[in-house]
């Protein structure tokens, strides 16, 4: 009987030791991993200068329709009459209409402004983030149409499924208080996010 009691005590001692060790190493692990200087919480965003308009933003987002949508940076738009972000390559006439439009969901609205200038507005509720207009605008225009993760939709997955599939590795984490990488007059490829965000206009 006495031997059995000793067994219990020894086992208990070993258990206590292991438990203490586990608690200490947990503390150490998390202290080390967490204790580094860091900024705010982060959200996902895509760098429009890296984007190759592959169309995977539509298909790979866990949400349907995707949280990635086209945004229009009006300040760098040419307001062209013949806009290759709006018009399909083999358009019949320079006007709205499914046979003329590049956008598969007719999410771009063409509005006359003045002279030879037209405004192109994106209806976000229709946009599926397919990047066809982005491709047209980037190749034949000013590149003012580009894709961005929209944070009123994005659920901020621990790992973004689009980020995994993106052939350009264009997705990265950005601080939550500056969650957009929208192109602007003073932005350029390979620019620091800080510099880029500093040039953005009024917040919406």
């Amino acid at each position: 009987m006495a031997e059995k009691e000793n067994d219990m005590t020894r086992r208990q001692f070993v258990r206590d030791g292991l438990r203490g060790g586990a608690l200490l190493s947990l503390g150490g692990l998390c202290g080390f991993a967490w204790g580094r200087p860091q900024t705010t919480e982060t959200v996902w965003q895509l760098d429009p200068y890296k984007c190759v308009q592959c169309g995977k933003c539509t298909t790979h987002c866990v949400l349907n329709p995707s949280a990635v949508k086209c945004v229009h940076s009006y300040e760098i738009c040419g307001y062209c009459d013949i806009c290759y972000g709006f018009l399909a390559p083999k358009y019949n006439q320079v006007a709205a209409g499914a046979e003329n439009e590049l956008c598969p969901t007719s999410a771009i609205v063409r509005k006359y402004v003045e002279g030879p200038h037209f405004e192109y507005i994106i209806k976000e509720e229709l946009c599926i983030g397919c990047a066809k207009c982005v491709e047209g605008c980037t190749i034949s225009g000013f590149g003012s149409l580009h894709l961005q993760v929209r944070h009123d939709r994005c659920v901020n997955c621990n790992e973004c499924a689009i980020a995994v599939a993106c052939p350009a590795q264009a997705f990265k984490r950005v601080p939550a208080n500056r969650p957009y990488l929208i192109k602007g007059k003073k932005t350029a490829p390979h620019m620091d996010d800080d510099k880029r965000n500093g040039t953005q206009g009024q917040s919406a």
């Binding site: 438990r19 947990l26 967490w34 860091q38 300040e75 034949s140 994005c154 621990n158 969650p179």
Partner: protein
């Protein structure tokens, strides 16, 4: 395509509306038109994370109280439903502790990686509670486990050898998750989580089908993901073995009726053993010595075998895949460039730098896969040793590692419910 390029060429020559961002000639508007700005909807407020962490702490404490003090299956069940509703469908199962393993692993190896507060809290809190009180996280807080537990309909007891062998997979998955996260390649635990697409009510067909399959299996086999796949469960199992307190079966209420053992869908209740078991026989001691000797062999051999996985595993990293594509392309110099190479050119990334980066990643995988193989060897060795250890039990006991503290057994125990005949009660007490 050719027509389009012809048009572009025409436009470049004729239309004043072409140019590049650095050389802008924006239109001058005279009619008073103001150039609008694109909208920037903000992400959800940061305090949501703090609410989650607070609720996690509260539900963990509540689960512990319900299992250890109150011993109430009903309480645990309702807590499970709350967890499915809040942590599951409302928060869509993200962030979860198994995902957080990867965040912590990546933070350890990548100095630039920012570790979110929620990830640390979700990783740490359930582990601390388990070290102190047993697997109360699994009991009532984890939405994945709760979902499986809630749909359990006709439990089928699996034979012990199936339990033991399938249980090893969870450790393999843990190793894979840590390896791929530490090298910054992929979050495989997130990618292959079967229940989050169900909580989100959207996802790829494959993942939804996998989720449906797990749910279907959960109708008959209790908590298949928890017992055989969950990488966090692998850690919790180890921690629970050394926990300070856990689900206890009180001997002064036990008449050894076996009802609790039969009712446990996870085969986690062990009956009392005859006294002779406690004394190890000569063959047992020899076998144990053999196992202790082959343990280092298993670890080192596993490590060596693991290094053979370097090439296939390294391909999980996008840069290594890109380097492969570059090699393929330079070998056969025809056909359209794949998107990845086009993107590389657009980002002004030189071929040389990609190859250099890929080489260093493959090197880190060589070390990583060694540790992965050694980990598998260690797990198998320790499993064999644990299986060969004979322990005498004088009373019924819930297995420290396997018991998920679901509190089902409390409902079935007549002693627990005060249903014992007073005569039998007296006999037990005088034991």
């Amino acid at each position: 395509m050719r027509t389009r390029f012809a048009f572009v060429l025409f436009l470049l020559l004729a239309c004043p509306c072409t140019g590049f961002a650095e050389d802008l000639t924006l239109p001058e508007f005279t009619s008073g038109y103001e150039v609008p700005s694109p909208t920037r909807p903000a992400p959800e407020a940061g305090f949501q994370d703090w609410i989650d962490i607070a609720l996690l702490a509260v539900t963990l404490s509540l689960a512990t109280f319900l299992v250890l003090r109150k011993r109430s299956r009903r309480g645990v069940f309702w807590l499970m439903l709350f967890s499915i509703a809040y942590f599951g469908f409302w928060r869509e199962g993200c962030i979860c502790p198994f995902g957080a393993i990867q965040n912590v692993a990546q933070a350890l190896f990548d100095p630039a990686f920012i570790l979110p507060t929620a990830a640390v809290a979700f990783f740490l809190l359930p582990l601390v509670f388990t070290l102190l009180f047993g697997r109360s996280y699994c009991a009532g807080v984890c939405p994945h486990g709760a979902l499986q537990d809630a749909v359990l309909w006709k439990p089928v007891k699996l034979p012990a050898w199936v339990n033991h062998s399938l249980g090893l997979f969870a450790h393999v998955y843990l190793g894979l998750g840590v390896l791929f996260a530490a090298t910054g390649s992929a979050y495989v635990i997130c990618q292959y989580d079967p229940f989050v697409p169900l909580f989100r009510l959207s996802g790829s067909v494959n993942m939804l089908a996998l989720g449906g399959l797990f749910l279907f299996v959960s109708l008959f086999v209790g908590r298949p993901y928890c017992r055989f796949v969950c990488p966090y469960g692998a850690i919790l199992r180890l921690f629970s073995v050394v926990s300070r307190s856990r689900v206890k079966i009180y001997p002064d209420r036990c008449i050894e009726c076996h009802l609790c053992e039969d009712s446990c869908p996870y085969g986690a209740i062990r009956e009392a053993t005859p006294a002779a078991v406690g004394r190890p026989k000569h063959e047992d001691k020899t076998w144990m010595a053999v196992l202790l000797v082959i343990l280092p062999v298993l670890i080192l051999g596993g490590g060596w075998l693991g290094t053979h996985l370097t090439e296939p595993f390294a391909r999980m990293h996008a840069t290594v895949r890109l380097a492969d594509q570059l090699n393929e392309k330079s070998a056969e110099n025809k056909g359209e460039l794949p998107d990845e190479i086009k993107a590389m050119h657009r980002a002004d990334r030189s071929t040389a730098s990609v190859h250099a980066e890929a080489a260093s990643i493959v090197k880190s995988f060589r070390t990583g896969t060694w540790w992965f193989g050694a980990w598998i060897g260690l797990v198998i060795g320790v499993k064999l040793i644990a299986l060969s250890m004979r322990r005498a039990r004088s009373e019924y006991e819930a297995d420290r590692g396997t018991c998920v503290a679901c509190a089902r057994c409390f409902d079935y125990c007549p002693g627990e419910k005060g249903l014992l005949d007073p005569e039998i009660q007296a006999r037990i007490e005088s034991r």
